[in-house]
Amino acid sequence: MDFIQPVIQVIYDSPIPTSIRESEWTFPIIQTFHILGILLFYGAIGLVDLRIVGVILKERPARDVADGLLPIAWVGFVVMAVSGGLLFAAQAAKIYTNLFLLTKFGLILLAGLNLVVFHRFAGRAIAIWGGEGGTTPAHARVSAGLSFLLWTGVIVTGRFIAYF
């Protein structure tokens, strides 16, 4: 993995990450956007996941819950990803070997794979099984449960980066 260190160093030394790191206010302001993005994303995707699993909002069709809340989740995701990318770049050389950061990246990858699998097998048919009186297929419930756990893990490991 020798090629990673020079790449990380180039990112770390580039103008925007450097100015973020050297400014007194920019870093905490980006951190604030990061937490707002996380809250928006997790609040929305969490409710959708828990609905598909069958824990909450059971009287409302899963399709309607997904249609209403996924746009909010995407807004949160973009804010979270952009601010998170900047926070990482500003500290890249110092934290790229952090065990919690690496675990977090691994969990994000798994959450992404899970999303792709969900769309391939269950997501396209949500208009049918997620409609009025529809029954959620078992694989959709497993995928939604996994999504909830994985994103929970991403947030927890993310919080731990600050301490270790």
């Binding site: 905490p28 937490i35 996380i38 927890v156």
Partner: protein
């Protein structure tokens, strides 16, 4: 007993002492606080946006409120308990932090405005009632973002 004494007492309770000594335990409680806060925000935001007719436009508002209430209550309880534990881990840090009082005040306002929505929902929010519901939804939403921002900055100043 003064307010300061109450904070100090909280720090001397067994959970307070334990969390002050264990960084991993503190980080776990903080993580649960953020997760519960996120779900609480999800429940609040969803009803606010429904009152603003942005989401769930075709569903009865009163049903949306009733379905979200268990999420609201459960996540509020978890966020409150974990919040109390975080304060117990370093009570004077919070007692002397001016943003902490602002966060609690904004939180109280946010919850009051949001809960004021509920009685309106039952009166078939139409006409003027609908405008009131939308206004409360918007104020609740703005206040909620304020609580989140203040929460982040407590740890920064």
């Amino acid at each position: 007993m003064s307010l300061e004494d109450a904070f100090i007492w909280l720090g001397e309770t067994p959970p307070g002492v334990f969390l002050a000594e264990s960084t991993p335990a503190f980080a776990v409680v903080q993580s649960i606080h953020i997760l519960a806060f996120g779900l609480l925000g999800g429940a609040i935001l969803t009803l606010d946006l429904a009152a603003l007719r942005v989401v769930f436009r075709n569903a009865p508002l009163v049903q949306t409120g009733r379905l979200l209430l268990p999420v609201f209550v459960a996540s509020l309880v978890i966020a409150a308990v974990t919040g109390l534990l975080l304060v117990a881990a370093g009570p004077l840090k919070y007692y002397t932090n001016p943003l902490f009082a602002w966060k609690l005040g904004t939180l109280a306002a946010a919850l009051t405005v949001h809960l004021a929505l509920y009685p309106i929902l039952t009166t078939k929010a139409e006409g003027r009632g609908r405008a009131v519901a939308a206004s409360l939804g918007l104020i609740s939403l703005v206040l909620w973002f304020g609580v989140a921002i203040l929460g982040r900055w407590i740890g920064l100043i």
